[in-house]
Amino acid sequence: MVQDLIKKANEETMKRILSAQPTLVGIGVAGDVIPGMTSKTILHAGPPITWENMSGPLKGAVIGGLIYEGLAENEVDAIALVESGEIQFDPCHHHNAVGPMAGVVTASMPVFIVENKTFGNYAFCTLNEGLGKVLRYGAYSEDVIKRLKWMETILAPVLKEAIGLAGPINLKSMIAQVIMMGDEGHNRNKAGTSLLIRELAAHIINTSFSNQEKIEVLNFMNSNDHFFLNLTMPACKSSLDPAMGIKYSTIVCAMSRNGTEFGIRVSGLGDRWFTAPAEIVDGLLFPGFTAEDANPDIGDSVITETTGIGGFAMAAAQAIVQFVGGNPQDAINYSKLMYEITEAENNTYKIPVLNFKGTATGINIMKVVETGILPIINTGIAHKEPGVGQVGAGLVRPPMKCFEDALEAFVDALTEEGLVE
């Protein structure tokens, strides 16, 4: 009886996830398009967190966000403003949004608007700033703010007009293609970024902006392999949101980290977060950095794994297998292992080297707890001090506690209904 309820609920959940049609429909301003956004709201990555508990990169990004918004002149002002209690912090996830690393979104920031055409829901994500000293790693120097302003005044308007000319871009099929081209959609976005440029180049040329501005935009996109990540993420978010809140479903519909805690949400358990301290990423560090420098796991980008790509599609990204141990077989093994804890094979995202098998999709908390196999996440490593930037990349897994607590809550809920003893 209970099994049947769970089975049906999980089938419905998977049907919704797999039938999603995430589509890039435009660019808007966060304050205008993101529901519940005010000029004093700061959205951040991960489950809810207070200022006191924020890690270095997130604090830095908050300070940068306030300076960018003109709400503070400098670090001291910004901290005073936060401590006055005037600023509202809320997870991106509570606003149909996602953000990489610190994931800070403020009202004036331009955001991609992604619509899931199957269900008519939207997801939002900022535009990727590039590598080095950037806001999402907690940097807030003058250069950082200047770049954000340029993105607001040049990059976003140019792309907005170009997307308007191009018409809606189906991200689902684009992500399917990039996986065929050696991206896994989280740590490698080279193919995706290239494909997006190819898709938009002619339209960018056709916009009403000056040649200089168009060149700047194209160069900016070209210089940043991860530009496409900020489209993959809202595509995944918009695919998962309609699958939330299906009673008796044991499928994970969100995973996310705020740099202090890792949190998951399970379809059948509504809005509740199940959290535990975030882990340190096991990975390769850039020269000059040590494990001491690494911040605990941070960012909403693990939404990719939740949708069956990222670490789950590692077998597709042979070029970066050294992050996972060194040889292609390791990557294949990681991807194969994920079938042990998931509910379905993806109907769109397919891996050539696995004989075009669909990626492992739909993490089932029961399977995670039973097998002891945790989802594998490919991710970047942030420096624990604000503003230093990325110090490496590697693998991380969520804490088991998130899944155990969720399972317990799930059984409790069934017990309350009298469905189990």
Partner: protein, 56 residues
């Protein structure tokens, strides 16, 4: 005739659950074998095992 007699007439295809050396021995003899990387359910966590059993 029982399935045992069917087995006697079929190529052996082995699932090895537990000691890896048994699978290695078979592999060395070119016998088809899949080694299962078995681990205790729920890592042996009794509370979790009890919770899971309620859902089955």
């Amino acid at each position: 005739m029982s399935k045992i007699n069917d087995l006697f007439k079929t190529e052996l295809k082995v699932a090895n659950i537990g000691l890896r050396s048994f699978a290695e021995d078979l592999k060395n003899q070119k016998v088809k074998v899949v080694h299962v990387d078995w681990r205790p359910p729920a890592g042996g966590n009794k509370k979790m095992i009890a919770l899971l059993s309620k859902l089955k």
